[in-house]
Symmetry: D2
Subunit: 366 residues, 4 copies
């Protein structure tokens, strides 16, 4: 089992939902970056549960402590480790969890993978709580990218039957996107009510609901990525599928392409009024041949409805070998996407900074 | 730029469309495997262009030569290198290609990435021709997996507006799937006509058409993959997006999940009649928490319509800085998916064998 | 800059000498290992400074806290993170340290590498204190190897002009080696006095003295390693040179080979009395062609005398650009090798476990 | 088994001594490098056997063919693959080789590692012949480094009892070193006779003799490498131990340090007459804390006498389980170091270019 990622910028993630602490080591950060703690806190707050009835009421504190890698407020270029202590450790009857694995969760595979020796409390190392340190790491990457003129925007594109507008409408980062970025739910105002209604309806029914998240990245240079294997799409997807509940990733027109004719989706080269190369459309989502082409990078992730629902489910008792009625205890998000935007953005930032360092070298900040 | 992939089983891909040769080194193969050359040839034939008017008439010979790694017909455990000489090297006026980059292709990004020093003939290293050695490598991986009881099936799920049936209908590998596997186009017979009509229509119009490919893998053990970063989904997607024209990857219900309620997509655990653990549905496509759960692995790739169309396109002449009419010369596939199934399967086989060796060790075949 | 290592078993090291905490994440541990805390404490005590006048009087507490990866006393297979808080943070006048870099230390290269943004207190991330978490990780690896019948022995082979006996005299792990393993200084009793006299002499003179450490590993299976690049020698050396002050690594007869004839150093194959394959000598130190051959693995590391001496040194003031007299403050080991044996063994254990998992798979403990 | 190496610049090596071809893929080369074929040929000639009675008379042709990665004489940035066909394939009675493994060779471990399925002819993939493509790759790296002002010099430091002068005498690359670089044997003229006499004596006796090779690299920037794990010493040693017969690697004063006092080996910082930072000695061989410090990088490799000697050796017949007299057939180098200098230099060049690209980014040549 491996919980490490990255080539130039390496993340080593650790922790269990109800263990002592969670956190990560970020290895390969450029030196001399004065950390923007406000941005980090903003992103962690956007991910944090318990903000409202739309998210799980579990009161994680998410107070991080930086253990290394910072001196006088700046990165040293050495590994930066953070820990987040697990304050809210509720004692589950976890012996039960080893008999009746929750459908759609990782309990069963975790049990097999660890030959029975896993921590079943709250999903153990498989918990979505592990995304908190990733959001921390992502915020640092986001800051460094921003200082290079690269801006990452994300939002909830759809919840259940409600489908919002696309970031493909925005050729550039503008005020409306800046506003969106400040919202706790990352939903365009005109879509907020309808989307929340979907979540509320699921919540009241003791159910959950799926969603999709869309991200656009502005200001990327031409030339990040490789044609074979380490495509920008492949590296991003590799990271994005590590987000719990993500089951689909698409770039630009994505699966819609499958139903189109080539003549309908041409991204012809043109010059903009400043004489820069552009394409007159962006069906390819900013990537050709696996490599950034200078247009906004655009992708979507599809999230499944969380498998933790309050409704009773009939499933196997692995001990008695008989079917049993399971009512998943605990506090659940009716829609994981309500907190997913900062996570998706964090993953994008981490991967894109890795690619940028590959192109520019470790002296990226020189 | 990197064209290497894999952890235990490493592929190093090389070559340009019109260079001396293409090929790959496959490093980390288990020793003592008697190569199934018939399977290799069958897969390479399924990928090969020029089979009919449905694919590009370019007469690639695809005659591979094994340079190393085999002794007395068996793998030695040392690196296996193959080369495929480029017999059909048509002399393009390639200076032109550096002035008018084809929209939707990698010419422009390839030019920038290489600081102008790339081989523009037929896309150079960015050519889909590079998938031939991948199909070779995939066939070996497929064979090794098959010897472990793991069977990979793939087919064209949709072309343009025609959507065929799903492999999710098949809980086990059966005769119908075996037949499908032998078809050059990997289309179920009842869908063949309608799908070919879509391609033909596009071809006649000088256009191209998108498609999707679906793969199901039977017989995987529980416990391949990791929860964070090296999820089965993430590793597969990483490889799949390297296939030219793939712009979306989804697992199980994929993006459909986004519109569903949790209660609609429960994969409850049950015992089958032999007393083995199963789930009573497979919405998650055989993966929970990034790890195989013993159910069939199911995924889909969305292919864009190839950007090479015969219709005239207006695009930038980078030399004159003026718009020009481009008519892409050469021989094109009206639908890349017609040859994509063996490629998608090859990528899946390579990734899954890598994961299997990680679990079982290099003595996998002992 | 990177502080990560390993393929199957990955170590991500963090911390600075006078920062908040040091520690590491150990990723890829086999599950279900009941940690031998006594062994861990024994090894950390052997590395710990302040044991006597022979080592630095700095009172590091080295109290580690396990943050993750353990449940009910056993490894879960998830990443295990430890932190060691830095209790003894003495406030140096560290502005001075950025003007007069200590000769033979990493201050200057650390300054350049971090573009001035490094933590100069006690060497920052470059401190030998970072070896404490490595010893922790190594003790776990040592335990797992021991459970597979693989036993690692190390000792101080020489200090200054005093050269002790070689582990090549021991064909098997025996009682004498077990005794040696329990000694805080890891010196054979008959050599202890002379070696300590060398250290004492250097200490009294305000000087330091070099040394060498030898390690022998018993019980390794035939077949670990690869011929090209990932040789056992190469992987071990890669890790060993990360130990501060190591400047040479040799296997078996090592540099002595350079002065020998082939006929003098034949390791002929023979059967032992149990009918097992052996070689009748072990000039090659248990490795042929980069791969373990079943004989004891034998290697030596040469340590330079620590650059921290109490004698006055004339060196450059980078601020004034003039030469200045430097008297390195603080508490120094007159001979780093006094604490190096557990570190060298730890590195060996980590690398060998990595190779063993590669051969046996993640289910090594099944 | 793995035969791949490198992070930014990746080498994938393939082939067997008597197979179809040997070669390698070099992945990650900077684009737009006009290959210096003369340098490549010079280096390959220096490695080539059969130059005189001092080396094996085997007539390898070493004619390489570039299969990819070059367009109009320049690197494209895509993978460069070369093959060298095995012209001189002598048919050994290789069934015999599986019964009586040659002492000191990799036959036995190769047999076990491959579960019996290896190519025993001439050592198969374990053959020193595999260093030919490495010298090719190294020559390209050497050229790129030279264009950045980095110059690699190597020579035979000792053979048997004859010990020559050290490159530590040369603070800068000068005419004498340029002359040395052009010699087929890379021995200083005043030492040539005595060294050749050692080889000749061994040859006449049907024996072999050990040697050491020393390398110095001039012009490296300050700041390559990392303190933990990816030290310059560790990365170089990792590669160097892959050279057949290398059993020791040391940097600067190396093992000599072990017998010294700290006050004897101070590298104090000074300014040279141009105002650049230097150290007034170079005991550390250009590296502090794992990172280049701007002084010449200096290291030595110890080579064992080749295990292939013409004298009769008594060893085990694995078939009969009885001891037998073995007389190794074939053509042997009495001293492998006669051809080793270009190989050692190649390894150094490959590793150093990898580190340089890490620092400067893939646009190193921009």
């Amino acid at each position: 089992m491996s919980s490490s990622f990255g080539k130039e910028l390496k993340i080593s993630l650790f922790g269990e939902s109800h263990g002592t602490a969670i956190g990560c080591v970020i290895d390969g950060l450029p030196p001399k970056i004065k950390l923007d703690l406000k941005l980090i806190e903003k992103r962690m707050l956007q991910r944090k549960p318990g903000q409202s009835k739309m998210t799980t009421p579990r009161a994680e504190t998410d107070q991080f402590e930086i253990l290394s890698g910072i001196f006088e407020g700046k990165t040293t270029g050495g590994p930066l480790c953070i820990q987040i202590r697990n304050a809210d450790r509720q004692s589950d009857d976890y012996e039960e969890l080893k008999k009746v694995f929750r459908p759609g969760h990782a309990d069963y595979v975790g049990y097999v993978k660890s030959m029975g020796a896993y921590d079943p409390r709250g999903g153990g190392h498989f918990s979505a709580r592990l995304t908190a340190p990733l959001v921390f790491a992502g915020a640092i990457a986001e800051q460094i990218l921003a200082e290079k003129g690269i801006k990452i925007v994300g939002h909830i594109k759809s919840i259940g039957q409600v489908n919002g507008k696309s970031l493909s409408e925005f050729a550039h980062f503008d005020e409306e996107l800046a506003d969106l970025d400040n919202q706790i739910y990352n939903i365009f105002p005109e879509e907020l009510e309808a989307m929340l209604a979907e979540v509320d309806e699921a919540r009241i029914a003791g159910d959950s609901v799926g969603a999709s998240v869309e991200v656009s990245v502005y200001g990327l240079p031409v030339g990040l990525g490789s044609p074979f294997f380490d495509t920008v799409e492949g590296k991003l997807a590799h990271a994005l599928f590590a987000i719990p509940a993500v089951k689909g990733v698409e770039f630009g027109d994505g699966f819609t392409f499958a139903h189109k004719r080539g003549s309908e989706v041409i991204d012809a080269f043109v010059l903009d009024h400043q004489g820069n190369v552009q394409t007159n459309a962006n069906h390819n989502g900013g990537i050709n041949g696996g490599i950034t082409n200078g247009m906004p990078l655009l992708f979507k992730c599809g999230f499944k409805p969380t498998a933790s629902i309050s409704m009773t489910q009939e499933t196997l008792n692995f001990n008695t070998k008989e079917m049993t009625n399971l009512k998943v205890k605990g506090r659940h998000d009716p829609c994981v996407a309500m907190r997913a935007v900062p996570i998706v953005k964090a993953m994008a930032a981490i991967v894109l900074l890795d690619l940028l360092i590959e192109n520019l070298g470790v002296g990226i900040n020189a």
